[in-house]
Symmetry: C2
DNA sequence: GGTTTACACTAGCGCTTGCTTGGTTGACCT
DNA sequence: AGGTCAACCAAGCAAGCGCTAGTGTAAACC
């Protein structure tokens, strides 16, 4: 049995599982359904994963690690101003929700189906991601770009962003860039909003 | 079998079901667990509800109708300024999340477990509620209190508010009033934020 | 050439699920 | 006294569940 997400085969199976978990929900997705989607028989599934729980954990781990990596590189490559960093985080968050949508929907909706061990491990990953946000928001507060309580502002912002998975349509006219700009514009003082990056037409 | 939520007995059973659905999730809550929590045998449950699905629909219907009613009376009894109406809606929303927490958590997390008929009926209720929000936000936009795209602003605000069910602690120091004030303060221009109501110390 | 490894198969065990059936109880009405 | 009705119960059915056991096979390695 594979134990790490490194195996390409396992990675592909994880991706398929994420899709089914979104469609049906974790509990209603049976191992037989998973196996069929993967083109194998249900027994063969347990060669790749110890049990059904481990598939859920793999899905969430994959998505969260990607989000963390994207956010870090977005912060590393943007201007070093509070505005630019805030914008980069929002944009990175929304782009992750687009490219890794299934995994993130699963993470948001099925978190409580994780057993305690997996939840413990994965909450460290999630905390690392949220810490990035809180740091960027702290900088914006210190610069007077936004006002309010540090804790509440970060919760509100992450709530607004995470909620997008319930209504955002990737096929629609609005791009992640647009959403990010609008959100940052909404929470910053009007006079403080910088011009949009030059990539926008 | 009862068919309306009017029966007091059924209303009480619905309340208990909401609690279990939050604790365990809809799919993992068995009819035997529900029956035990209600102090009856599993077969007796089907005297009150046609099937398990109907219990879920009853829970969500109850919560949404309460939210709608509270929001309407909050709007009816507040000052007729965009600020006051915005604030009243946010506060009403958060207070509903507090008093009817279980039902709302179920509505947010288990919506997709509804069968198409129930979903159709309940989405009309939900649309009526969201229409209240969009109206109030339109007024705030027209008054120049906030800026941005009508659609996006309302989604962001509702996202921030709904997300509170994931982190808000009713036992903590922050009251719904505080959260509402902070959120409105965050999205409105600083100079436009009115003084807090006199009930705040 | 023999052994190991990765991946897949068939068959089915033991258990739980939502729901049904047929019948009982006790409060209330006429 | 006789009838009604909501509320409940004991028992169990058919279907589906996660997972295991044991086996086959083709490629990779020594």
């Amino acid at each position: 049995m594979n134990v790490v997400n490194e195996s390409p085969r396992r990675k592909e199976l994880t991706r398929l599982a994420a899709q089914l978990f979104v469609q049906e929900g974790f509990d209603r997705t049976t191992v037989r359904m998973l196996a069929q989607e993967m083109g194998i028989k249900s027994g063969s599934l347990f060669h790749h994963f110890r049990d059904k729980q481990e598939i859920l954990a793999a899905v969430i781990e994959e998505g969260t690690e990607n989000a963390l990596q994207i956010a870090r590189s977005a912060l590393a490559s943007c201007d070093n101003t509070p505005q630019a960093r805030l914008h980069a985080m929002a944009r990175a968050h929304l782009e992750t929700l687009l490219t890794d949508r299934n995994a993130h929907v699963v993470a948001l909706y099925e978190w409580r189906r994780l057993d305690p061990d997996a939840r413990d491990h994965l909450s460290h990953l999630r905390d690392a991601y949220e810490a990035l946000w809180e740091q960027v928001i702290d900088e914006a507060l210190a610069a007077g770009l936004i006002q309010g309580d540090r804790f509440l502002v970060s919760r509100f912002v992450m709530g607004a962003l995470n909620w997008t998975v319930r209504w955002y349509d990737p096929e629609g006219p609005r791009k992640p860039e647009d959403l990010a700009r609008e959100l940052i514009g909404m929470i910053t003082s009007p006079r403080a909003v910088p011009a949009a990056p030059s990539t926008i037409v």
